[in-house]
């Protein structure tokens, strides 16, 4: 059933959603002490940086944000065809006893988050790890849930969620499109 992509969030709604997520992250952490944001490559990294800027504006506090590439921890490396491109991981501080919030654009099967948890464990022992996602599209294959959710949407497996962000794509928008519709 090929239909026009439907808009989940436009630029203003995305900004509003990130502001609410920033508030919820600070609330969840009961303040900004020991708070560290870790964005998952790729779009999670930029979303984490934006949330850090919002928290800075609201609370006047600088939060560290890092980048995590989970490619080398994927559970399907032996079966995927072409080797996926490996991105940069940048976690230049210890994670011991920190309150880490993983930030990603879309939560689907949960396998990316599983890989991220494994990778973070190799960087130290955080006091707590939480998960913040812009879009939760359901369809989990692992017992993983998000603590902070921007928008929950029902998307069936034949469709995909496209997140566009200014820093990488030149515009802010979240769409639901048919899977083979390579827009």
């Amino acid at each position: 059933m090929p239909r026009k992509p439907s808009v989940v969030l436009d630029a203003r709604a995305l900004d509003r959603t990130l502001r609410r997520m920033a508030d919820q992250i600070v609330e969840l952490n009961a303040g900004t002490d020991n708070l560290v944001l870790v964005g998952i490559q790729r779009r999670g990294v930029q979303l984490a940086e934006r949330i850090v800027r919002i928290i800075k504006a609201q609370e006047g506090v600088d939060i560290s944000s890092g980048a995590l590439d989970i490619t080398l921890y994927r559970d399907d490396l032996q079966t995927v065809g072409p080797r996926p491109v490996v991105g940069t991981t940048q976690l230049p501080w210890t994670l011991d006893d920190q309150h880490v919030v993983i930030v990603d654009d879309v939560l689907y099967t949960g396998r990316t988050v599983r890989a991220a948890l494994d990778e973070l464990a190799d960087f130290g022992r955080p006091a707590r790890i939480a998960l913040a996602v812009l879009i939760d599209r359901g369809g989990r294959e692992l017992p993983i849930h998000a603590d902070v959710i921007g928008r929950k949407v029902d998307v069936h497996p034949g469709q995909r969620v496209d997140v566009f962000i200014e820093e990488l794509d030149g515009r802010d928008e979240v769409l639901i499109a048919a899977r083979d519709d390579e827009a």
Binding site: L72, Y73, T88, D118, F123
Partner: protein, 319 residues
């Protein structure tokens, strides 16, 4: 399903510029893994890699072993001394026996040019050439190019001079193939007795005098003078070699620009390179060693998982 480099890495001659760039780009994030407190990722968990070294090697073997272990592969080292190779077993029999123990990859160093390709065409495991005779040493070439790129940026039009015993050097050949594919200008400099006759056919400039090379180059890759060559009469004496071709501070001070200094090791200080150059501000020799582990991790990552038909491998070998 073969990976982006095919089944094997036999040399830089069969690779395209894009494939070389892919390895270099992939090596960049792998450098960071060696900086972590826990220098290990689970990528090659369950894969078994045999390091089959028929020639002495310290740096390359250790570098491969670190790369393999940091990717969580299981590794076995086989050296020719103390193995059944010294009882006269052929290369293929050794490898087939290893394969019967269910291995995934073989890293091979061998004194005969073409040994890696010979093996790759006959076994199903991925084969990585860690140096075959005077043919190629692709991972050394890649780590040299990565180091050059880190310091010089885009290599298009940059001038790299390989200094010394080019005739016997697989490192030189891999460098020439790789660098020219990436658009760099390559020259060689050394005594005519240590330069191959047909070197001009590889698209490189030849300098007879090191002073000309100093005038021209952005970077020097200084090769080890293999000391056994002196006995064979290629050069009159080590002292004379150092006097005419040695990379010394006095010579480099005459250069119109700072020349980046690379050396694949092990160095003969005071012969092909002086200590104050090797340890000087423009030396990136230890950087090469660090990059070596990252490049080998990238190669292992890009090759692993691909298991094409044997026929494919044989076809590709001819290309």
């Amino acid at each position: 399903m073969p990976g982006p480099l095919g089944k094997d890495l036999l040399g830089l001659a069969p690779l395209s510029a894009d494939q070389i760039r892919l390895v270099l780009d992939t090596a960049v994030p792998f450098r960071e893994i060696s900086e972590r407190a826990i220098k290990k990722v689970p990528t090659l968990r369950g894969a078994t890699i045999v390091n089959l070294f028929f020639e002495a090697s310290t740096r390359t073997r250790i570098s491969f072993e670190f790369a393999e272990k940091r990717l969580s592969a299981d590794t076995v080292n086989v050296a020719s001394a103390g193995s059944s190779v010294s009882k006269g077993e052929t290369l293929v029999d050794t490898a087939r026996n290893l394969e019967a123990m269910k291995i995934d990859m073989v890293v091979i160093r061998h004194g005969a040019s073409g040994a890696a390709q010979f093996l790759a065409e006959r076994i199903e495991s991925n084969v990585i050439n860690a140096g075959d005779g005077t043919n190629e040493h692709p991972t050394q070439g890649l780590l040299d190019i990565l180091t050059l790129r880190n310091h010089l940026g885009d290599l298009t039009g940059r001038r790299i001079c390989i200094v010394g015993d080019v005739l016997h050097s697989r490192v030189a050949r891999s460098n020439i193939w790789g660098l020219t594919k990436l658009g760099a200008e390559v020259a060689v400099c050394g005594p005519r007795s240590l330069l191959p006759n047909a070197i001009g056919d590889m698209g490189v400039t030849v300098f007879d005098r090191i002073e000309e090379a100093v005038e021209w180059a952005d970077a020097f890759n200084v090769l080890r003078l293999q000391l056994e060559r002196m006995q064979a009469g290629y050069i009159p004496s080590l002292r004379e070699y150092n006097r005419v071709y040695g990379v010394t501070r006095a010579r480099l001070e005459k250069a119109p620009r700072d020349i980046l200094i690379l050396h694949p090791g092990p160095m003969n200080r005071g012969v092909e390179i002086d200590s104050d150059v090797a340890d000087g501000p423009h030396s990136v020799i230890l950087d090469q060693v660090t990059n070596g582990v990252a490049v080998r991790m990238a190669v292992l990552y890009l090759l692993a998982g691909g298991k094409p038909e044997l026929a494919d491998a044989a076809k590709k070998g001819g290309a």
